[in-house]
Amino acid sequence: MNSSLRAMGSWLERRAENIAAAMLATIFAAFLLQIAFRYLLGLPIGWTHEISVVLWLWLVLWGAAFVVSEREEIRFDIIYGAVGPGSRRVMALISSFAVITLYTISLPAVVDYVTFMKVERSSYLKIRFDWLFSIYIVFAVATIIRYIWIAWQAVRGVAPDEFDPTKASSGV
């Protein structure tokens, strides 16, 4: 049971990564298309710009929700990296509690804001903004579930992964 669950988890993880990679590929392609249309064909197009901005937003929140692992997150490790597994468990428990509480109590207001945005549509593709912005709700819920999981692991006695700064790339 446990191993098949784990297999399913890693299968889902790989699919989430496929989607993120596809989003980035689409941003890249949209830009090339935009440049080609403007300079080679002399036809400026706006919808490619809109696609890339939307996908950038979705890529970041989707990636943060489902793709980026705990090892890859950018964090401040002066204390976290120096303490043993026991202390790390306690620290994870406290910060998870804060994240779960704050993301959960803000959730109704966030849902309100996103659904309110249904009155607006994007300029080129005329997509309703509540659809475009719904990714934040997905992100918030996924984050809450992720931290419930981390807190549960910490309670059960499994310390969170040691921090690996070389995996946490911030692009600078």
């Binding site: 993120a20 980035l24 590929a25 890249f28 935009q34 890529l59 943060a64 803000s106 790339s169 692009g171």
Partner: protein
């Protein structure tokens, strides 16, 4: 400052959560939600600021594209050819390979905007070349690759400069131009250190490449060497926006790696996309957190408060720059560079403006500071990466990087006190500053 105010409490919460090891992006979002809650404001504002900020910013789209460009360059054999080219030029001098290391960093800098990508991309090969047959001590080679990678984001293109443009509204095109001379200055300072230590430590000389072979080696490296020309030429002729130039850079890197050098498999292609997507999500979360927290900072009018506070110190522009340099170098020892750029730097921008400091000059000084922070212990990402690649103890790498660190701080002082080193080139292209 009132210690029980919503702002103070949320600031303490963010700091505490970050110290507890919560990812910095989440710490900033959570802390900002706490602020909105305590101040009795609509908590939906957190989502509003994040979503609109990410959606309405066009320049920022160049970040994922520059990351992708660097990944595409690293999978191809562009690196090998450039290394052969650099070796033909400077390998014949004492400490030749060490000079090759710096020269190829300069050339790479003209194509990539990320120091981390440069070190990760060329570090392994450089390390293997320099330590073969015990030519150079492993820790020295690792230290040199770490410090020479610093040049990457100072010479355009540059991801940190894009982030600075985001928080300061300075022109990204002029920032890019402003980085050229300082980047060369940093390289020169490192080359001087190599040249002086090469004699003292009796570093080897590479077998000179015969001059008749030079045209062929240059020809093979030519498509890669043309990349900065395509990129910067496109931006400054006004043909492309910097964001489009980032896409062109990625396209060009893919084209020559896959088309010309035929060294890219589908697996490589997918991996480059996946790694870039992951990096984009990580850095994007920091940007997202900073957007939300910067809203709080603006509501509380913090930058103006800092301006008033610093005005009380009666700092001269030079005094202010010295203060910022020292502060950023110290912060760079313990904090991640992107976080400093997105959270700490915006607070000082109004003061810089009030003191009449040019924002392009300020931006370059800030970026150089943050880059030096990547090689200062205890938290120096480039040191970690090279320790990982070379399997040398971190302590030895730090020891061997100290002379370079000193030289880079001298170079930083020069560009701080002589603004013309930064502003000369942008002015040549019509910058009114």
């Amino acid at each position: 400052m009132n210690l029980a105010s919503p702002f103070s409490i949320s600031l303490v919460a963010i700091t505490a959560l970050a110290f507890l090891g919560l990812p910095i992006g989440h710490a900033m979002i959570a802390g900002s939600i706490l602020y909105l809650l305590l101040a009795g404001l609509d908590m939906g504002t957190a989502a509003e600021q994040l979503l609109n900020g990410m959606y309405s910013n066009y320049v920022i789209l160049s970040v994922p594209l520059f990351i992708l460009a660097a990944e595409f360059m690293n999978i191809g054999s562009m690196t090998d050819r450039l290394m052969a080219f650099c070796n033909a030029l400077v390998g014949r001098f004492r400490g030749g390979l060490a000079q090759v290391n710096i020269l190829q960093s300069i050339i790479f800098a003209g194509m990539s905007g990320s120091a981390i990508a440069d070190a990760a991309g060329t570090g392994r090969m450089m390390q293997a070349m320099m330590t073969r047959d015990g030519r150079y001590p492993g820790s020295y080679a690792a230290a040199l690759t770490a410090v020479s990678s610093v040049i990457g984001p100072i010479i355009p293109p540059s991801i940190p400069m894009v982030l600075y443009a985001l928080v300061s509204d300075a022109s990204i095109g002029f920032l890019f131009l402003g980085g050229v001379v300082p980047g060369l200055l940093m390289a020169l300072s490192q080359m001087i250190i190599v040249a002086t230590t090469a004699r003292a430590r009796n570093f080897p000389v590479e077998k000179p490449v015969p001059l008749r072979k030079l045209p062929r080696i240059t020809w093979e490296a030519f498509p890669s060497l043309m990349m900065p020309v395509v990129l910067l030429g496109g931006i400054y002729s006004g043909v492309m926006t910097p964001t489009e130039a980032a896409a062109v850079a990625a396209g060009y890197a893919l084209l020559i790696s896959a088309g010309l050098y035929r060294s890219v498999s589908w697996r490589d292609f997918y991996n480059a996309l996946a790694v870039s997507a992951r990096t984009t999500a990580s850095i994007g979360m920091l940007i997202a957190g900073a957007l939300v927290f910067n809203y709080v900072i603006t509501v509380e009018n913090i930058p103006e408060g800092v301006k008033a506070l610093l005005a009380g110190w009666n700092l001269s522009p030079v005094g202010f720059l010295i203060f910022v340099n020292i502060l950023l170098l110290l912060l760079g020892c313990v904090l991640e560079g992107t976080a400093i750029l997105l959270i700490v730097v915006p607070v000082f921008i109004p003061t810089a403006q009030a003191l009449g400091i040019d924002l392009v000059h300020f931006g370059i000084v800030v970026v150089v500071n943050i880059m030096i922070g990547l090689v200062t212990p205890p938290y120096g990402l480039l040191l970690f990466i090279m320790a990982n690649i070379s399997s040398e103890p971190l302590r030895d790498i730090v020891r061997d990087s100290l002379p370079f660190l000193f030289a880079m701080v001298v170079a930083l002082a020069i560009m701080t006190f002589v603004p013309e080193t930064v502003l000369w080139l942008p002015r040549l292209f019509g910058y009114q500053g």
